[in-house]
């Protein structure tokens, strides 16, 4: 029996949100987040941390032992702050634990029933409960599918059905007059789905960012004026600025709002080869944080050696515009020239990212797509190994379709056979 988790309270902003974990590893999972657990049926305040020790939230923790919980299984309820971002972060962290998965709709109730935990009166009330749940699901599905994801999911579905059909033809109709080498088309179809899904997952990240905030890192050679720029952007002296190269050795964060988006600006150590042990750590930390950031702003001075490789969307800005000829483009933290242009460019880049957001919004969608992608990856591997592994390739595709089911509803063998019979001339 697997351990499941989900937000048990209503979705959206609220005073308190409840995340429920149920199943044999519920206590273990909660312990990993909260450090220690209170006695059963007693509450305690705990700091929830992710695997790296970063704080997720402070939450009221409540444990129920087996046979003494709603589901009848070991259960933990985490009462977190009612922020969408917090809940999302907690759910995402739980999703990383081995043996844990997001609960299917109605699954807590179902387990409660399976374990005989609901009494007659509760069963009476269950019908309403469930119909409201399905209504919510329906609305949710409608919202989801009125957007672009509907079309996308339909095309994924078609591609994967077609890919399954191709493998089915070579397996179930191998003694007939059918194409033998379906590999190129299968790989083509699968890779199309992979690309689309990966884009959606990136978009999921952006949707998450809208709630959790973007990170923008400022990078550049030492003493190019990164901290001065940060201060200018932030409008206050958040970073220590001096004229000694290598002043910023740690990463300095400033939270601000740009174009209505929550943004954390990161000021980093200047990038250069150095023998200074502390500065060296600063440089590597700068690179690490910067690569994880959503956007990087590179400040460059004429004559700087390119010690970095910006990606296509990163911004490259001429530094110390106050020292350049009048009218040349660039930015100066000192005089403030070019600052508003830079703000506009950063905002535009971030808004571009948010434009991709919004289709897949739920943790469940994300985990379904991730499961699907991982099965597709194995399928590609199996297809590549040749005919001998076509049954395993087909199994991975079945797994991928099963994952897709939670996004788009059931796809079953009849759909695959329909495709087989409509495209291939079978029958000796």
């Amino acid at each position: 029996m697997s351990t499941i988790f989900a937000q048990a309270s209503a979705l959206g902003k609220a005073g308190v949100s409840v995340v429920r974990i149920s199943g044999p590893s519920a206590f273990d999972a909660a312990r990993k987040l909260a450090g220690s657990l209170p006695l059963a049926r007693q509450t305690a305040l705990r700091v929830l941390r992710d695997a790296k020790g970063e704080i997720l939230d402070e939450a009221l923790v409540l444990c129920f032992e087996e046979k003494a919980s709603f589901t009848g299984e070991q259960t933990v309820e985490l009462q977190t702050h009612g922020s969408i971002a917090v809940v999302r972060a907690v759910l995402a962290e739980l999703g990383k634990h081995e043996g844990l998965r997001v609960a299917e709709p109605g699954e807590f109730t179902r387990r409660a029933l399976a374990n005989g935990r609901l009494d007659l009166a509760q069963v009476e009330g269950l019908a309403d409960l469930i119909s409201s749940e399905t209504e919510a699901q329906r609305q949710q599905a409608l919202r989801l599918f009125s957007g672009g994801l509907g079309e996308l999911a339909t095309s994924w579905r078609e591609s994967l059905i077609r890919a399954s059909a191709l493998l089915t033809v070579t397996i179930d109709f191998a003694d007939e007059d059918v194409p033998v080498d379906v590999k190129p088309e299968v790989l083509d179809l699968v890779s199309g789905v992979q690309t689309g899904m990966k884009q959606q997952l990136l978009g999921f990240g952006a949707a998450e960012r809208v709630r959790m905030g973007f990170e923008v890192a400022i990078l550049g050679a030492p003493n190019v004026g990164k901290s001065t720029l940060l201060n200018a952007l932030a409008g206050r002296d958040a970073a220590i600025t001096s004229e000694i190269a290598g002043t910023t050795r740690d990463v300095i964060e400033v939270r601000m709002e740009l174009a209505g988006l929550p943004v954390t600006l990161l000021d980093t150590a200047g990038l250069r080869e150095t023998d200074d042990v502390v500065e060296k750590i600063g440089v590597s930390r700068a690179l690490e944080r910067a690569s994880a950031a959503d956007l990087r702003v590179y400040l460059v001075e004429a004559g700087d050696q390119d010690s970095f490789e910006p990606s296509a969307e990163d911004l490259i800005v001429a530094a110390k515009a106050d020292l350049l000829a009048e009218g040349s483009a660039g930015v100066s933290g000192l005089t403030g020239s070019g600052i508003s242009e830079l703000v506009a460019r950063i905002s535009e880049a971030l808004l571009n990212k948010t434009a991709r957001a919004g289709l897949a919004t739920r943790e469940r969608h994300k985990s379904a797509m991730e499961r699907c992608l991982s099965a597709l990856e194995s399928a590609v591997d199996m297809v590549g190994r040749g005919d001998e592994f076509s049954d395993l390739a087909a199994e991975e595709l079945r797994e991928a379709l099963a994952a897709l089911n939670s996004l788009i509803g059931r796809v079953d063998v009849e759909n695959v056979l329909d495709e087989v019979f409509s495209s291939f001339c079978l029958g000796k």
């Binding site: 697997s2 029933l113 269950l126 749940e133 179930d172 005919d387 049954d391 001339c425 000796k428």
Partner: protein
């Protein structure tokens, strides 16, 4: 007027009927097999082959239950081929070309030899009913046969109509009359019905075929047999021939489409998409300029050739014209024209998982009458019906086959839960757990069940337990032998040099490792015989996937255990859409797993159903 008395009466001596009668008799109840003519027992009306992909699995499973089809096929097989030999073992299917005459005589001999089983010749025209329960059958000559349970396996004989071009006449099979009186009697039961069709190719005279210019397809050099009891083929082995249609053939067919029964609008029934007529192929796949034909000898003792791939309902003269346009068949003579047959079938959703009619007590249906096609599908249903009829006579619980354990279970569940829209044929892709439902482990999956039912011979029991013991000790040995990466490298096995030991069983899951690879590392492994080694290699290959599927299997088995009473009132379920209520009350699922298989069911609806079931059970217990 004669009067006979049996426990179980089986009507029909085809593949479903024989298997049903044998199964009931093996269970120890007095069984009668009623057939028009004794000589027709085990007749193959379509192509002379048993097995194939998915179908070979069914035959192995029937054999694992100690059924007859596998044993008889091994005796009458004249060309054995393992299909998908170069694919994964889970999707390999044994197939054998059969000698029709040998098959019939072997099946008759097996049937006559089966204790408690009697063959009765005659035409069944009516049922005997007592207080609302079918309790026997009436034959045309007035003979009454009373029985506790009746199994009907009439194949395509219910209102069978044969079409050749624009000529059509009533017939169950070429040369046989249909069961019209029985069909009228069945009408009184008001069962949901449908009409299906299927076709056969013209049969050719082998002497008139120019074999010299044709490609020949021999059987496997090491034949894979069906029965776990068989050792080697008994009949002389032959090769099949291969030829192709060409543009000329297609032209002749296209020019005469209006004369085809199918395209001339004479046939209403739905045909199988996976077995289209040559007319269908030419129309639907117009861009293909050639189709494959296998020329399959029907017997060692006569000259008839079954040209597999050109079934038709065109007029005889057109058949001759297009056949003679094909390479190697220029002089070929048709000994029996191809024809299409239309027949009634009963919507299998009217059946329980035991294949018993829900609305009529005492009557089971098995085989083509349930909308399936194929000898193997028919025989497997016969087995299920025969076992359950006997269980009912013995007043024992029904035997249900799970989708998670057998192709038989997959088929029965598909039929009674979803019904059919075209003749139902088994494919490996229908089995969601096909990686564990392999032809090679059918005995491991089903023989223990058969033993517990008491329908297994002493010989098979002994053989099975010896094999099971050998498998177990070999598995233990493989689990206990472990090697370091360095040892493995010395034996040319490449693994990560991570210092951790791997067991022999784990190593077998690597694509390029077989038991032979490991033999130099540990001489005790030599004690494992090749057959046992092969099965364990296959188990190892799939072990990770099977573990992953286990959650699905567990969920299904749990749901299968949640029985839904026949009287369950779906309309009283608040919170369920009307559409779902309708679907549920129409299909009357017997358990929660079946309900979950109904199109459109949601997890929430299943939870609701479960809740009501528990409520009903508790109030009953209170």
């Amino acid at each position: 007027m004669k009067h006979l008395d049996f426990d179980v009466v089986v009507v029909g001596g085809g593949h479903a009927g024989t298997e049903a009668a044998h199964a009931a008799a093996r269970m120890g109840v007095r069984t009668a097999l009623v057939t028009l003519r004794k000589a027709d027992i085990g007749t193959m009306s379509c192509n002379p082959a048993i097995g194939g992909l998915g179908k070979g699995h069914l035959v192995r499973e029937i054999d694992a239950m100690d059924g007859v089809m596998g044993r008889v096929s091994d005796r009458a097989g004249i060309q054995f081929r393992l299909l998908n030999r170069r694919k994964g073992p889970a999707v390999q299917g044994p197939r054998a070309q059969q000698d029709r005459a040998l098959y019939r005589s072997a099946m008759l001999a097996a049937t006559e030899a089966q204790p408690l089983l009697s063959i009765v010749e005659g035409e069944t025209v009516d049922f005997i009913e007592k207080s609302g329960k079918v309790s026997g059958v009436l034959l045309a000559d007035g003979t009454e046969i009373s029985a506790r349970e009746v199994i009907l396996t009439t194949g395509t004989f219910l209102r069978g109509t044969i079409h050749i071009g624009d000529v059509s006449y009533a017939g169950g099979r070429m040369g046989d009359k249909p069961s019209i009186r029985l069909a009228e009697r069945m009408d009184n039961f008001e069962l949901p019905k449908g009409r299906l069709k299927t076709g056969t190719p013209p049969r050719l005279s082998g002497r008139t075929i120019n074999w010299d210019i044709l490609e020949s397809q021999p059987g496997d050099s090491e034949p894979t047999l069906f029965s776990f009891l068989s050792k080697e083929p008994e009949a002389r082995q032959i090769s099949c021939g291969i030829t192709h249609t060409n543009e000329k053939t297609h032209e002749i067919i296209a020019d005469n489409l209006d004369k085809s029964a199918m395209y001339g609008g004479h046939i209403d029934g739905v045909g199988p998409r996976y077995c289209p007529s040559i007319e269908d192929k030419v129309v639907r796949f117009a861009d293909k300029t050639s189709h494959l034909i296998f020329l399959e000898p029907e017997s060692l003792s006569n000259d008839t050739i079954y040209p597999n791939g050109i079934s038709t309902s065109l007029p005889e003269n057109v058949q001759k014209e297009y056949v003679q346009s094909i390479s190697g068949l220029e002089q070929a003579e048709i000994v029996q024209p191809g024809y299409a047959i239309e027949y009634d079938f009963i919507d299998p959703r009217a059946l329980t998982l035991e294949l018993r009619l829900k609305s009529i007590d005492g009557l089971f249906l098995a085989g083509q009458i349930n909308g399936t096609t194929g000898y193997e599908e028919a025989a497997a249903q016969g087995l299920v019906a025969g076992l359950n009829a006997a269980r009912a006579v013995l007043e024992q619980e029904p035997v249900l086959f799970s989708r998670a354990e057998s192709y038989i279970g997959v088929m029965i569940d598909d039929l009674v839960t979803r019904g059919v829209s075209e003749p139902y044929r088994m494919f490996t892709s229908r089995a969601e757990f096909r990686l564990s439902l392999r032809a090679d482990n059918a005995d491991q999956r089903l023989t223990p069940l058969a033993v517990s039912l008491g329908c297994v011979s002493e010989e098979r029991k002994k053989l099975f337990y010896n094999k099971a013991k050998a498998l177990e000790s070999a598995k233990n040995l493989l689990d206990s032998c472990a090697f370091t990466p360095a040892e493995l490298r010395a034996a040319n096995v490449n693994v990560n040099q991570d210092g951790s030991r791997r067991t022999a069983f784990q190593l077998l899951s690597y694509p390029d490792v077989s038991l032979d690879t490991l033999l130099p590392l540990d001489p005790t492994l030599k004690s494992i015989t090749p057959t046992i080694a092969k099965q364990l290699e296959r188990d190892a290959l799939y072990v990770n996937y099977i573990e992953r599927q286990q959650r699905e299997v567990d969920a299904m088995k749990r749901d299968e255990k949640q029985h839904i009473p026949v009287s369950f009132d779906y309309s009283a379920l608040d919170g369920l859409s009307n559409e779902l209520k309708l679907k549920l009350s129409r299909s009357q699922p017997q358990n929660l797993a079946q309900a979950a298989g109904i199109d459109g069911m949601t997890p929430a609806a299943i939870a609701l159903l479960l809740a009501k079931l528990r409520q009903a059970r508790r109030s009953k217990g209170a």
